[in-house]
Amino acid sequence: MGFFDKFKLSRLKEGLTKTRENIFGKIQKILAGKTKIDDELLNNLEEILISGDVGVSTTMKIIEHIRLRVKKDGYENPADLDNLLREEIEKLLVNDLISENDPFYLPTEHKPHVIMIVGVNGVGKTTTIGKLAYNYKNAGRKVLIAAADTFRAAANEQLEIWTKRAGVDIIQQESGADPAAVSYDALKSAMVHGVDVLIIDTAGRLHTKINLMEELKKIKRVLQKLIPDAPHDILLVLDASTGQNAIQQAKQFTAAVGITGLVLTKLDGTAKGGVVLAINQELSIPVKYIGVGEKIDDLQPFDRKAFVEALFEREQ
């Protein structure tokens, strides 16, 4: 189909490794020759963090933590300070042991395991679903996808292409159908056909649109008629290039349906997605996956260490 250009893929991966190599360089650069925490170092740190969309208050918090740590523990050389810095930032990220050990783990107690995917417009929900389905399929699971984005033009067609790539089944109705009805039918079918995991695609919606948020609540309510604790996972997809507004998104979607995890997409660009630090601080929702490309296998489990390191890498 021409979608999977081998050359492009290897080039992209190359690009990623190249930037990875610079990670350590950056921290070391700001720490070079530093024997104490001075204003210059803190200013540099501030610039790096804010430029990574970490946000002012979280940045201040990190800087304050570091100041206190150094006061308490002291440190011998720049390498110590380097470690300390990473530790303090990593601490702000919610630890999600289950996903870290087995990113596509499915609890045995529910079958089907129901995952609902939500987010604002254009963050990459449909692409994420294609990648998720592919991974579960590869893990030997029976996957079904519900096309509950009945609003956007050609959303059905787009999802259908992804399900074909992943080799999984899809349930869809005509455009304009009630998304709750589509979800309900899909879950019913999943229960009948012994599906392991049902992934529900929802239409992109701005978190400020009350009626659209109500629609999400309705989908959840309707699913609970069949399985009281469904959906078992509600993943909020965030675009890594989004700034501080992501906090509002997380808050509003949490208030409406409760978010169990984040997916941070488009991390293959130059954006850092630092705003998830603030979201982790305020809402304690772990980042589960990151999207690093348009290919079906470009979904990776979230790695806190790598994420922190990436914050410090810079394009020259």
């Binding site: 417009n121 990459g124 033009a153 050609a154 509002q248």
Partner: protein
């Protein structure tokens, strides 16, 4: 859309207002807060730095007009800088003198290009143009289907050819359009990362082949710090003509608008404000700056005061106030000055905080007209020496002004109180006069 930022800046200025003079110390503190407000609004770190520097430079050593408070002046300076950053004029599409006009749309994935293309087609159609859409996104699954469906909704033809490369589609479309008698071609390209060299080469080649009259860069208004990197990269490759800000109907503060505009120096031309296909607006930098600043319309207030208030009169008035020689004659002058600035109601609503007061506030235009009539019915002597106004004179004034003796009495009493109040101000200035009037009424 900018309510949040607005609110934050208002707290900053509340701190500044009510202070006698701009000192370097209180400016730097306030600017630090402005800096934080802007960073929270996702304005790029470096852009903010530049902005604060500019404001500082312009503020230091600037004299505060007698008729303004330092706080008001700072508002004006910050507003000017924001407008400067976002571009001071509103820009429209450049049409080709020889149709068809070719518009190419580019941007990152998920920024809203396809939706914008349809919105733009609809907008141009409503302006009497005959647009045609070209689906040149061969990469995203079903992107061509999406554009076709949108085209159907707004009844604009779509060139959709499957199985060809984006370059072939775009290039071939121009010939087709000539035959189809359409005067504007809108080419939708695939979303691409600015660091994806191969994809960037594709869009560059499309540009070479179709030589667009206008290249629009579409960007999500929720974008954070990275906005400058992507905008710059696209600009380096495409030298685009304008920017489109999408999804402004959310609650994003939209600092990216400021960042991009300052980094690539190209105007923001349109804003997307909803999912419906008519939810497209032309961008107004001044409106946006006012919105970001959100100081009611304090800026307009300051401008009007600056242009219309005669400085010399202010000085004379101040002198008189100091010597407590303020008379009805001066009062009448003041009333005329106020009237020049617009209706009192309007003026009051421009003062931040005032718009939250109930509308039936003490000062209304009709009351002022009556006051004016009363003063105009006085003789010159009475205006200068109101103490000579006895019962007969009061009756004459009431009849002459079409009011009642009670109203004349009330006015005289209020004027007396006002005079007293003014004596207590060592430096009576316009804003204080407003306060005095409010109290007296």
């Amino acid at each position: 859309m900018f309510e949040d930022l607005t609110q934050k800046l208002e707290t900053v200025f509340k701190k500044l207002r009510g202070q006698g003079k701009i000192t370097e110390a209180n400016i730097s503190e306030s600017l630090r807060e402005v800096r934080r407000v802007l960073l929270d609004a996702d304005v790029n770190y470096k852009v903010v730095k530049q902005f604060i520097d500019d404001v500082q430079k312009r503020s230091v050593g600037q004299e505060v007009l007698t008729s303004l408070t330092p706080g008001q002046l700072i508002v004006k300076i910050i507003f000017d800088e924001l407008v400067k950053l976002m571009g001071s004029t509103q820009a429209e599409i450049k049409y080709s003198p020889l149709p068809p006009t070719v518009i190419m749309v580019a941007g990152l994935q998920g920024s809203g290009k396809t939706t914008f293309c349809a919105k733009l087609a609809y907008y141009l159609k409503s302006k009497g143009k005959f647009p045609i859409l070209v689906a040149a996104d061969v990469h995203r699954p079903a992107a061509i289907d999406q554009l076709e469906m949108l085209g159907k909704q707004i009844q604009v033809p779509v060139i959709a050819e499957r199985g060809k490369s984006a370059i072939e589609i775009a290039h071939g479309s121009i010939e087709k359009v000539r035959k189809a008698v359409r005067d504007v071609v809108i080419i939708d390209t695939a979303g691409r990362l600015h660091i994806d060299e191969e994809m960037m080469r594709e869009v560059e080649t499309i540009k070479e082949k179709v030589t667009p009259n206008e290249i629009l860069f579409v960007v999500d208004s929720m974008t954070g710090q990275d906005a400058v990197n992507t905008a710059k990269a696209f600009h380096d490759k495409l030298d685009f003509d304008g920017v489109v800000l999408t999804k402004l109907d959310g609650d994003t503060r939209g600092g990216a608008a400021i960042s991009i505009r300052s980094v690539v120096n190209k105007p923001i031309k349109f804003v997307g404000i909803g999912e419906k296909l008519d939810a497209l607006e032309v961008f107004h930098p001044d409106r946006m700056a006012t919105r970001i600043l959100g100081m009611g319309d304090i800026v307009t207030f300051v401008e009007k005061a600056q242009t219309q208030y005669d400085e010399q009169k202010v000085q004379k008035l101040e002198e008189k106030l100091r010597k407590s020689q303020f008379t009805f004659e001066d009062f009448l002058d003041q009333l005329h000055e106020i009237k020049k600035m617009g209706s009192v109601q309007q003026l009051l609503s421009m003062i931040p905080g005032m718009n939250r007061l109930p509308v039936n506030s003490a000062v209304d235009d009709k009351a002022l007209t009556r006051v004016e009539a009363i003063i105009q019915s006085m003789t010159k002597e009475e205006r200068v020496k109101p103490q000579i106004i006895n019962g007969t004179r009061r009756r004459r004034i009431a009849i002459g002004s079409g009011t009642s003796i009670q109203e004349v009495n009330k006015m005289l009493k209020q004027f007396g109180e006002m005079q007293k109040m003014m004596k207590t101000f060592s430096k009576g200035k316009m804003p204080r006069m407003f306060q005095g009037m409010k109290l007296a009424n």
